[in-house]
Structure formats: C-alpha cells, structure tokens
C-alpha cells in the first residue's frame, strides 16, 4: 500500500516536473527577448523605415512584408489544403494509392524548409517567371504549410461522428449536401485552428523566402505583389549575423524578435478566438 502511494506521488511529480521545465524555458526566452527588446519598441519603431544602413529608424517594411506574404500563403494553402482534406477524407476510397498519397503528404511536412525555398526558386521564380517577389515567397510558404493544413483538416473531419453523415444521407441528402451542411460546419473550427497554427509557423520562416523574394534592405514599402520585400524573420537574421555592426544594432534585432513573436502570438490568439466563436455559433 505504502509503495503504491509512493509510486503514485512520484510519478505525478515527474509529470509535473516535465511541465515545469517546458514552462521555464518558455519564460526564459520570453523574458530575455522582452527585456532586451522592449526598449526600442515605440510607435516610431513600428511605423518608420529603416535608416542609416539599418542602424536607426523602424521596421515598418518588414512588418508589412511579413503580413502580405502570410496573406498570400493563406490564400494558397487554405482553399487547397481544405479541398484536399475533404477529398481524401470524404470521397477517396481507402486503397493503396490514397494511402500512398496520405503518406507522402505526411512526409512532406518533414521536408526541411530550405528545400522548399530551393523548390520555390525553381518553380515560381524561374519556371513561372514570377521573379523574386511577394507572390513567389507566399506561394513557396503556401506549399510548405500545405501538409500541415491538409493533415489538420483531415483530423478535424475525422472528428465529426459518422452518424452525422449517415443521418443526413438517410434523410435524402446527397453526399455533398451531407458534407456541406452536416460535416463541414463542425469540422471548420478544427480546420481553421490547425491552418492558422501552420500559418503562424510560416510567418516566422526564413529559409523559404530567402531566395524567393525577401530583400536585405528596402527602405520603402513594396509597390505590388511582384516587388521584393523585407520580412521580419529575415530582417532578424540579418540584424543578428549579417549586419556590418552587429553589436550596435542588437537592440533593433531584439525589438524585431519581439514584434515577430507578438505577431505569431496574435495569430495563435486569433485561432483560439475563431474556434471559440464558431463553437458558440454552432451550439446556438
């Protein structure tokens, strides 16, 4: 009896320790970046162009660039990913080919992002002749997030009980009607959550945009989707390693990191809010 109780308490505390370590690491990172970056954050920092070889001024072009690229990424990966997921989960028959497709998609999410970057250069920049620009970078990131979007969407669809489908079919619904009216409404919160998490990861990527459109320094806003652009993660990379006065611009690097984290955090918050709102609507 005693030994059993001891094991129970011991096991429980091990689990507690795991959580503790994870939270500790997170807090240290957040504290480090916030404490060193908060000093440079100001309205001006967020809304001004970089000046004097990026040693002064703000990061507005990088913020705008990252937002625009993320929008393109979303426009590509949301419809394509959800469409794929709906087909795979609802229509495709379970045979060797679909299993192979599904496995390939899962494996794609493990492909290093630099490989996507290279692929983007070849496909979008060169073959499709889009040049290095927001579109090329957005499409490249879109391809990179696709496996995430598809997998998350498929999981969300799987979570919808089969009885909703059968119930609808038994009332004379066509397959698409059953999916549209009785499956998708309950899967979309989960689909969107997974997708937005994928997008927030894409927003922080450097490698795929490195060759496809991100610029070292462009002290003005992109004129169109065919312009090169600055992006927060790439800017951060430059400020921390490539700049001619790395130690001098360190505060700006930390400020950029803080903005990037805040942006990603806001996106994740959006995911939570979207899910919460859709759940509420559904339950009304």
């Amino acid at each position: 009896m005693k030994a059993r109780q001891f094991k129970e308490i011991f096991g429980f505390n091990i689990l507690r320790l795991c959580v503790g370590i994870v939270i500790f690491v997170l807090i240290v990172i957040l504290y480090d970046i916030t404490s060193k970056g908060i000093g440079v954050i100001s309205w001006k920092f967020l809304t001004a162009m970089p000046k004097n070889g990026m040693t002064e001024g703000g990061i507005l072009p990088a913020i705008v660039g990252t937002v625009l690229v993320t929008v393109i990424t979303a426009l590509l990966s949301i419809p394509l990913g959800m469409g794929c997921a709906i087909y795979l989960n609802e229509y495709a028959s379970d045979n060797k080919i679909t299993r192979l497709i599904r496995m390939s998609i899962r494996n794609l999410s493990g492909v290093p992002s630099i490989v996507y970057g290279l692929f983007g250069v070849i496909l979008f920049v060169q073959m499709m002749n889009l040049g290095t620009c927001i579109l090329s970078a957005g499409f490249t990131l879109g391809l990179m997030t696709l496996p995430w979007t598809i997998t998350a969407s498929e999981e969300a669809l799987k979570n919808v009980p089969n009885s909703y489908r059968e119930g609808a079919l038994a009332l004379g619904a066509t397959k698409w009607q059953a999916i549209k009216t009785n499956v998708l409404p309950y899967a979309i919160p989960g689909m969107l959550t997974g997708t937005i998490l994928g997008l927030s990861r894409a927003a922080g990527e450097t490698a795929p945009i490195l060759f496809t459109g991100a610029a070292f320094s462009l002290p003005f806003l992109p004129k169109s989707l065919f312009s090169q652009f600055m992006a927060l993660p790439y800017h951060l990379y430059i400020m921390s390693t490539q700049h001619h006065a790395v130690s001098k611009v360190r505060p700006i690097a930390y400020g950029t990191a803080l903005v990037l984290i805040a942006l990603v955090f806001i996106m994740n918050l959006c995911a939570v809010m979207v899910r919460y709102r859709l759940r509420k609507i559904k339950m009304e």
Binding site: S93, L171, G172
Partner: protein, 252 residues
C-alpha cells in the same frame, strides 16, 4: 398477405468476400410492422440497410438480386438513391441528433430537399414532432440544442426528423436498445401509432418487443431467412425447430 410494399427476391449481399445475406426472399406488407429478429451477425441490420441502400456508403460491398419497392427494383441502374432514401426513412440504433437546435434537426430533411417556404417548414416540423409524440415536451424550447434532450427524447426527435420528409417506409434498427423501459414503452406505443400511415420494419434483439409490436416476424440466421410468418403464429407454433430454440432463448 394484404398489399405488398417491399418485395425482396433472391437478395444477396456481400461485404468483400463475406456472403452476409443469402437468397433472401420476403414480402413486406403495407402499413404493418414487420419485426426482424435473429442472433448478432445474422444479417438483419444488413438487410434493413439494404432497403434504403445505406450499405452503399460502405466500401467494397455488393448487392445481387431484387429489392422491389412499389414495383420498382431499387438496385436498378436508373434509380436515384437520394429519392429512395427520402421515401424510405431510417432511425438508427444510437439516436443521432445533429448538433443543431431541435427545430433545425427536424427541418433538416426538408431544407436539403429544397423546401424554402418558412411557413410550410414550421408546419411540417410541428406536425412531425406531434406525430412522434414529443411535441408537448419540446414545444417551448424548439431553439434549444437537441443534445439537451434525454436519450428517449433524442430517439423520438430522430423519428420526428425522419417523418418530416414524409417517407412511406420507416426502417428502425434496434431503436430502443439503448433506452430505459419507460422510454422503450413510449417508442413502442409510437410505433403502433405510426403504422397507420407508414410501413415499418424494425430490427430488434428483444423477442418480447418483437412479439408485442410487430404484425409479422422474420427470423434470420447466418444470413438466411429461416422463418417468416404472422407474429402470433411465429411465437406460438414456429414451424422450424431452430426458430423455436431461438425464441425460447435456448441460444442467441
């Protein structure tokens, strides 16, 4: 037998290589309750789901033979499955209300079948809920989520939902197996009411239930229709030894 609604002729059904229904031939009477009994895995649910072609949704299945409803084989190539399912309603073993309001659950079938007229929908919803003997319990909370209802109420809601699209046949797959005795009694009383307007086929594990509510009873075993007769005869003078063994509880 009076009017024939459904006529199964040499009906065979396969799940992949498994031959689960073997040369089943039976006539099902209009506006009667036909009970289907038999041990688990005997094919009774498969037979039921063959009548509205719900088995189509399972991959790797194959049907052979005839399943004739109102003189038309529903497995003919020119048949619109959606039409069949509108005409042949179904109530599942586990009540499956949709996560919508009570009203929207019942209106669902009408809406997907293209009914737009709000007043007509309201009328049909009320009528269906009344016919399913649940109106008085839900009339003040039609806009509440259907999940708030009790198990028995949920099942009657599902019956109302099936009634709303005005089917002619209602298939019930052990509709009361998950319910307590009171809720079961209510469903059984309801079935007696419904048979005035609908042809009802009910699969049940419960022999007493079959004896109480069905006019005709069919006994399935190992995918074969062993015996089929008027319920009172079936339960008093079964013609086959194996039927007698089953209904007296010697196996199954």
């Amino acid at each position: 037998m009076d009017d024939i609604k459904i006529r199964a002729g040499d009906f065979n059904f396969y799940y992949g290589k498994a031959h689960v229904l073997k040369n089943v031939s039976m006539d099902i009477a209009t506006n009667k309750v036909t009970g289907i009994i038999g041990p688990s895995g005997c094919g009774k649910s498969t037979f039921l789901r063959s009548i509205n072609r719900m088995n189509d949704t399972i991959l790797g299945t194959k049907a052979e033979g005839r399943m004739i409803i109102d003189g038309k084989n529903i497995y003919d190539e020119d048949i619109d499955v959606v039409e069949i399912r509108r005409k042949v309603g179904m109530v599942f073993q586990k009540s499956n209300p949709f996560p919508k309001t009570i009203f929207d659950n019942v209106a669902y079938g009408l809406r997907i079948n293209g009914v737009k007229d709000k007043y007509y929908i309201q009328e049909r919803v009320e009528k269906s809920l009344k016919d399913a003997a649940i109106w008085d319990e839900v009339k003040d909370r039609l806009n509440k989520n259907a999940f708030e209802l009790s198990g028995g109420q949920q099942q009657r809601l599902c019956i109302a939902r099936a009634l709303a699209v005005e089917p002619e046949i209602i298939l019930m797959d052990e509709p009361a197996s998950a319910l307590d005795p009171t809720a079961t009694l209510k469903i059984e009383e309801l079935i007696q009411q419904l048979k005035k307007k609908y042809t009802i086929i009910i699969v049940t594990h419960n022999m007493q239930q079959a004896a109480r509510i069905s006019d005709f009873t069919a006994f399935f075993m190992m995918g074969e229709l062993i015996e089929y007769n008027i319920t009172s005869i079936m339960f008093t003078k079964p013609s086959k030894k194996i039927t007698e063994d089953y209904i007296t509880g010697r196996f199954g």
